[in-house]
Amino acid sequence: MEQKSKKDLRINGIGSSAGGHFDSVQINGKGDINGDLECTDLEINGLGFVRGNVKSNRTRISGKSTIAGNLAGKEVIIDGMSEITGGLSGDNIENRGMLKVSKDCGSETFTSHGGFTIGGLLNAGSIEINIYGPCKAKEVGGEKIQIRDGGTFGIGKFIGSLFQGWPLKTILTVDTIEGDDIYLECTTAKIVRGGNVKIGKGCQIDLVEYKNTFQKDGFSDIRINETRKL
């Protein structure tokens, strides 16, 4: 007999599950899922730990979550903190918190208003990063890449005047950036390669290679060691 419909999984308080196929999965509180998870909706509003791969159409993480595996989905929104020990893939990835991915991260659009660490390649059709915290990736590749300084919050500036080393260094550190249209601010990179490259404030780049156009804003804190036209 065919099953009528998939069940929901809801953990309110403290609970655990072995994983499996669900329609909607919600964790409010603290939840452990000890296995692979496949669902339509995944929402984690507290503390979530998944020991396995996750496949979910819509994923929203508002609390803190650790996924010991890969996360694949269409819509992925991270408002809190999330650590993924495998790879992350989706159509739209939106990060408004702290995202840590150990392997590659791929999607059609990737937007970030926070900080992230990506151990492998960040690969997206359109990449829009507003730096509000430390951002790190090994490689960045895509069609349109825009990286902007998010600015420091007022309170952050105030605390910064009291303590040294605060705010956290809000730059993007990356080995290579490759794309068709690139605009960079506050980026430290070894190599930037692209069709149209524009470099804004706060960039430290060893080598820029461009095919069509190259532009540099007139800020004094830009350092580019070498520029080559291909």
């Binding site: 690969n123 059709g125 590749g141 069609e143 490759e178 794309g179 068709d180 692209g194 290679e209």
Partner: protein, 212 residues
Amino acid sequence: MENELISKKDLLELTGISYGQLYRWKRKMLIPEDWFIRKSTFTGQETFFPKEKILVRIDKIKDLKEDASLDELADILSPSPAEVEVEKNKLLHEKIVSEITMDLFAQALGLPEVFDFQKTLYAYLLDKMLASGEISGEEGKILLKTLEEHYPDFAGKPSELVFIRKLGVPLCLLISGTGQVSLDAGAKLVSRINISNVIEELKAKLADGGIK
């Protein structure tokens, strides 16, 4: 040389595609992950590709992308079997498999009314080898039986089909991956076929015939 590498930069220059396209194709899994070979150079790490394979693949993608979406392309190019069911007559009609092959298939494995993808693949492989005159009909049956018995273990993984003859005795091997094969002096390597490539070919043919 088969293992010649090409750097990403040279590749883009040679083929006229952009970084964005290359990354998009990678994302859509049109280019297999293990073709991206990282090597240290004096400018830091660079990515290289197996030259021959990547050039063929990019030509193919450029060719096909006019009439297929990237997602469809990914299906065609992936080594995993497609979900296809084809009627026997359709295979004959579209000239994917010849009459003679079909007869052999019937003798070796019985004749199903509807061919699933794997059976189609077996028949197509046999057809290819018969057409090239490399093997005889009797040997074809051995081939079919080997495939029927063992190919399911390899499905979805890159594999090769190797056909050897020694003193007139045929021997059929299935190898996972693309390793090196060495033979003793008396043996003759009749044919060696990369099954992943054949799957691509077959998928493209099926798509052309309006079957998929």
